[in-house]
């Protein structure tokens, strides 16, 4: 019986050494930019001649989330609508105004996105230099005014926001 116990010790030791072996888990963080359509917007119709995504106007503000894994590798370019992609026939011009701002952010230092943003294309395109890594939610407001106080015809209206991530 004693002999059997002695024989068992090296076997147990061998098992223990196997159980204690460390298995490495390797990871690699790849530089990338991910665009997420967080909240689909909705036009409110506060007056007959106006469609707006502002909550004060009864709309829902579209929100686009960017996940930036490595800082300073990309710039975000967000272009707001200047036309409807789908609407009833419109016989008069539509005047579009919009704003794009970095709202919620995973790092307070990302507020630099707003201070350094560049706006062009008559205010419809906003460019943000993504110099900080993390997640940032861009809030987009868009307003369309029809003719001179003219009522928008009834029907479905669809507009397109283009969210881009361009490698630097």
């Amino acid at each position: 019986m004693k002999m059997k116990k002695l024989l068992l010790i090296p076997a147990l030791a061998a098992t223990a050494s196997v159980a204690g072996a460390s298995i490495p888990i390797n990871g690699f963080i790849e530089s990338k930019c991910v665009i997420q359509s967080d909240t689909a917007g909705m036009f409110g119709n506060p007056t007959v001649d106006k469609l707006s995504t502002k909550s004060a106007d009864g709309g829902v503000m579209p929100i686009v989330r960017y996940d930036i894994v490595t800082a300073s590798k990309y710039k975000a370019v967000i272009t707001t609508p200047t036309d409807f992609s789908n609407s009833p026939t419109l016989s008069d011009s539509v005047d579009w105004t919009s704003t794009t701002v970095a709202g919620q952010m995973s790092d307070s230092e990302m507020s630099v996105f707003n201070t350094d943003k560049v706006i062009y294309n008559n205010g419809h395109t906003t460019e943000f230099d993504l110099v900080k890594a993390g997640s940032v939610w861009f809030n987009v407001t868009s307003e369309a005014e029809y003719g001179y106080g003219k009522a928008f015809p009834s029907g479905n209206y669809t507009a397109l926001i283009v969210a881009e991530c361009i490698a630097k």
Binding site: G27, I29, E30, S31, K32, C33, V34, I35, Q36, S37, D38, A40, G41, M42, F43, T53, P62, V64, D67, V69, T70, K73, Y74, S85, N86, S106, D107, A133, G134, S135, S142, N156, Y157, T158, A159, L160, I161, V162, A163, E164, C165, I166, A167, K168
Partner: protein, 123 residues
């Protein structure tokens, strides 16, 4: 910071996302003489998107001729696809950006739609 972000990405997942990597693809010789290739990965977790368009641009954002199995890539929800972009040696010096852009079907009638485009840069 990176670990927090990685955790958020893994834990939260991508509910509605478009991803196109690598950020800086490298052009290498393909099996065809005079044709270079770049290997890209497209990942779709946008439930509302079923097609992505591919394009190649020069530094001034003018189109550059390229070939791929298909220039419009059908993608299922949560599908990952490996894409090879072929560029001839005549165009290779001009090519600067490889982009993928979500394609929105005419049947989509949501009031506000986000079209996403991600461009990688050839260095």
């Amino acid at each position: 910071m990176r670990f927090i972000l990685l955790f958020l990405l893994l834990a939260g997942g991508y509910a509605n996302a478009h991803q196109f990597t690598p950020t800086y693809p490298k052009l290498e010789m393909s099996h065809m003489v005079g044709v270079f290739k770049a290997e890209m990965v497209l990942f779709n977790t946008r439930e509302d998107i079923r097609y992505y368009g591919l394009s190649v641009f020069d530094k001034d954002w003018k189109s550059v001729r390229f070939a791929a199995e298909s220039k419009v890539v059908p993608m299922d929800y949560q599908e990952r696809k490996y894409i090879t972009i072929y560029i001839s040696s005549k165009e290779v010096d001009k090519a600067k950006y490889i982009c993928s852009k979500s394609k929105i079907l005419l049947t989509v009638k949501e009031p506000s739609i986000v079209s996403s485009r991600i461009c990688s840069k050839l260095k």
